[in-house]
Homo-oligomer: 320 residues x 2
């Protein structure tokens, strides 16, 4: 028995046939071309899935369900995306459209939540009951799984961990608030701060590593420069980790999960990030060292968390 997992992104649709253990049997992708009508996008999602089945020689009868992770606010019960800004979805009937091509149970979730569920079921969280996933990318995404259920609020738009304000007079966020955590701990924030430090410190290795072209700055470069002993980059990284620790301590003080799992580009730094981060988090959490039982780990599934989590959604709704 297999499930199909689909990760609908603003740029690409990724899909995979996934076995019961969460192993990807075959995967593929196709451009979203998000300017199109939803019906064309959903048709392409289905066609991609059917193509994978054909390529792999798997019969549709061996497919148990299709799961979809989508940006925006889902209504999982009715199989609808209530609202997704980037895709111009508004009460978009994903399940109904999908059923035209694949007549199987169709499950639906928000992409960040679904990726967290993937890590919970098949990745870092394999043997834990509670997990909070934090994605350090363009923004700071959040996904909360407690006792096998995705926690996203009564109106399915919660778990916006990046939009917890850690500085009420701080940097204005794209959401309109001041001091949202993602303005300090996203990869974008790190890149912004590294660029600023490079501009203010012409002697810094940061400039050398981007060949004097700040548009080449990415989230890896400040870590590389710091490792090479650059003091300016080291300060940028220390600051970044301080803010990350503040937000993670907020998460732990509320959820005390078994695991906080970090994903997104910055998490590729692994121990360069996790070790100093843990030291800062201990100083911030309620109850201090004795209360610090949550493990901070790097996501295992990487970009596949979304498709694997989508393929596993049936476990939530069928209460397997």
């Amino acid at each position: 028995m297999y499930n199909i997992g689909i990760d609908l992104g603003g740029t690409n649709i990724a899909a995979a046939i996934v076995d019961e253990n969460g192993t990807i049997i075959r995967k593929g992708s196709t451009p979203t071309m998000s300017e199109r009508d939803y019906s064309a996008i959903i048709k392409d999602m289905a066609m991609l899935a059917l193509k994978l089945l054909e390529e792999e020689g798997i019969d549709i009868d061996d497919i148990h369900s299709v799961g979809v992770g989508s940006p925006g606010t889902p209504d999982p019960e009715n199989g609808i995306i209530v609202y997704a800004n980037n895709l111009r979805f508004h009460n978009t009937p994903i399940r109904q459209e999908m059923k035209k091509y694949i007549d199987k149970p169709i499950y639906l979730g928000n992409d960040a939540n679904v990726a967290a569920f993937g890590e919970y079921e098949c990745g870092t969280g394999l043997e834990c009951n509670n997990l909070v996933a934090i994605t350090l990318g363009t923004g700071v995404g959040g996904g909360i799984v407690i006792d096998g259920k995705i926690i996203s609020g009564s109106f399915n738009g919660g778990a916006e961990l990046g939009h917890v304000s850690i500085n009420y007079n701080g940097i204005t966020c794209t959401c309109g608030r001041k001091g949202c955590w993602e303005q300090y701990s996203s990869a974008s924030a790190l890149i912004r701060d590294a660029k600023e430090a490079a501009t203010n410190n012409p002697q810094s290795k940061l400039n050398e590593l981007v060949d004097g072209d700040l548009s080449k700055m990415n989230a890896k470069i400040p870590f590389d420069a710091a490792l090479e002993g650059d003091e300016v980059a080291d300060k940028v990284i220390k600051n970044y980790i301080k803010y990350l620790a503040i937000g993670i301590a907020n998460v732990i003080n509320v959820f005390q999960p078994e695991i906080v799992v970090l994903g997104g580009g910055v998490s590729a730094q692994r121990d360069n990030l996790i070790k100093p981060l843990e030291k800062e988090v201990i100083n911030e959490i309620y109850g201090g060292k004795n209360a610090f039982k949550t493990k901070i780990k790097v996501a295992k599934l990487g970009n596949d968390a979304g498709i694997i989590g989508a393929a596993m959604l049936y476990k939530i709704y069928e209460k397997v």
Copy 2:
């Protein structure tokens, strides 16, 4: 069938016989005298409960369970308080001791969480599935109930909503962090700010209402002075509500509960608090006005939330 609810406080033990609907049949209290050994305290809890039964003429056979809300970190499974600073509890076997006097199922929870559960089962949350309770008192307490379960983390010490930092360079909290929400939104914080404003503004009504004795300041006086048109007090209240809104928006962005229920002394202000608060919260939440579906309400059960919630704990553990 009745249940006994016990709310163990640092100063008083409150207990009640509660019927299946959450109605208090008879209640009483006795001093905690927290300097005593735990066994003496727990014996008094049991004796108080038995006395209430005798006074009401209810047979012990008509009692289904005993629930206890205690400060500190519980281990509900094993019926132990792992740690409670004020009571000097350390791995204290509440269930085992209690069973010596009342041989019924004994259930246990953290006091703030249990009070939230009381509101959920029998108060403001009567017909909702998700609720976050926030107590504005000496500190800012939190209790989270989702689908009938108390969410307090894998290590039972979570839901510390008052220790979410909203200002990482802000006021140092008793917990050691900077900028914890409770430093801005507790009744204590309001009193602190009102005292400061009174000192800096001798002409303010705040001074008049405390008869020139700032030690008489409480959380009601700045609201009273503001209602009487005192500009200094009005500014204190506006600031207080601003901070409260920031923290509540953080809670909503994460949990999107059906209801945020406010308890503690400050919540007695009812519409004077809730109406301006809602306006501020709308400006702070992710998705703005359209996403604002959470209702902000004042707790219904007041000080009885703890004993009623304790009496209802069996519903969690017996999965009624």
